[in-house]
């Protein structure tokens, strides 16, 4: 009786095969599989897939924002660089312009000074000339006056004759 228990099929050692069990097992298993697919595994797989997508999406979003941040940083950096160089250029040009302006101002001042000097010189010259002319006139009139006075005093008849003769002589020689 004990050994009989170990014999294969002892549990089914009645008469023939339990086809009913077999069919029942088959049907129950298939029903179980279908029901679980609908009620358990399907939703579970759905949520797992959803999570997978969520994680993948988050990762790609993080990646994207990282790239974007990097790009922005790069942009900011280049902008800063640009601004710095621009400021440098501005300072340079301002310096240059200042130099030019200084030169210009100096040149203008110099020419102005020259011109003023020239005009002053010119005026001095003119004044001098005018003064000279006035003196000359004065001298001429004075000399004439003196001459007339001298002549009035010195010229007598003899001298007058001599002078006239002299002139006549001279005029005759030249001919």
């Amino acid at each position: 009786m004990l050994t009989n228990s170990f014999v294969l099929g002892a549990a089914a050692a009645h008469s023939g095969v339990n086809w009913g069990d077999i069919i029942f097992q088959l049907v129950m298993f298939i029903i179980l599989m279908v029901l679980l697919k609908i009620f358990a595994w399907g939703p579970l797989m759905g949520i797992m897939k959803q999570r997978e997508e969520h994680v993948a999406g988050e990762i790609s979003a993080a990646e994207q924002s990282r790239v974007e941040a990097k790009k922005l940083l790069e942009e900011q950096r280049s902008l800063l660089k640009e601004a710095r160089s621009e400021a440098q250029v501005l300072i340079e040009s301002a310096k240059k312009q200042g130099d030019i302006q200084r030169e210009e101002i100096i040149a203008v001042a110099r020419t102005e000074a020259d011109r003023m000097k020239e005009s002053a010189k010119l005026e001095i010259e003119q004044q001098k000339e005018k003064a000279v002319a006035a003196i000359r006139e004065q001298v001429a009139s004075l000399s004439v006056l003196i001459a007339s006075k001298v002549i009035e005093k010195e010229l007598n008849a003899a001298d007058q004759d001599k002078l006239i003769n002299e002139y006549i002589q001279e005029a005759g020689d030249k001919r």
Binding site: V17, F29, I31
Partner: protein
């Protein structure tokens, strides 16, 4: 130790009512376990959802170890259902068995060769079905003549041997475990001294049966995937 089975004949088919009962109970437990643990699904899994996701990943790894996920993804649900159903079935007969008037009512459904061979036949049948469906009848048929044409009879025998070993391995392990449990419980524990003497080996053997039941459900699922991969993958 041999108990009678409650056999009835209905529509010309023999039904073992104990099997019917235990199959129904195992199915119900698996169904309730799965459905209750997936009622509140969340992106951040908690409690039983974690466990179920672990089972899914476990089966997914089994499939991935035998074939491409492209081919094997469709067997995912089959694999999870099989591993859970067989594990629950193996566990059912462990804590106790119920015998009413010499008729064994409560046992593991997998301690019956008819049940295990049904599952094995289902698996092998599915492997042939998917072999034809996914690779075409020509490629499927050619597999029987590879690497040499005279291997054909061996290949045919292999198919039946696969079915038999797949079913009988499970049956043998679980049935033997239950026989020993009932031997310890009924044969040894007859007096006070016997009960005390039987307690320790009972405990040890129940622990071992727990291990065997888990391992057998894993092996069954693994071999299912191996047989399926054998038929549906063109490179093996």
């Amino acid at each position: 130790m041999h108990h009678e089975a409650p056999i009835v004949t209905f529509l010309g088919l023999q039904f073992n009512l104990a099997n019917i009962l235990m199959i129904t109970i195992a199915t119900a437990i698996v169904f309730l376990l799965a459905v209750l643990s997936t009622r509140k699904l969340a992106m951040k899994p908690t409690g039983m959802q974690n466990f179920m996701e672990w089972v899914m990943d476990f089966v997914k790894n089994i499939i991935n170890s035998t074939m491409d996920w492209k081919d094997g993804g469709r067997f995912h649900i089959l694999g999870i259902t099989i591993i859970m159903y067989i594990f629950v079935s193996n566990m059912l007969g462990l804590p106790f068995s119920i015998v009413v008037d010499g008729v064994l009512w409560w046992k593991s459904p997998t301690a019956d060769p008819a049940v295990t061979l049904t599952l094995a036949t289902l698996i092998v049948g599915l492997s042939h079905f998917y072999g034809v469906k996914m690779r075409g009848a020509g490629a499927y048929g050619k597999e029987f003549f590879k690497p040499f044409w005279f291997m054909f009879p061996i290949k045919i025998i292999e198919e039946f041997a696969n079915t038999l070993t797949l079913g009988l391995r499970l049956y043998g392990n679980i049935y033997a475990g239950e026989i020993l449990l009932s031997l310890l419980a009924a044969g040894l524990a007859t007096g006070v001294g016997g009960t005390i003497a039987a307690a320790l080996p009972m405990l040890v053997w129940q622990g071992f049966s727990l291990f065997v039941g888990a391992i057998q459900s894993f092996i069954f699922c693994m071999l299912t995937m191996v047989y399926l991969a054998h038929k549906v993958s063109s490179d093996h």
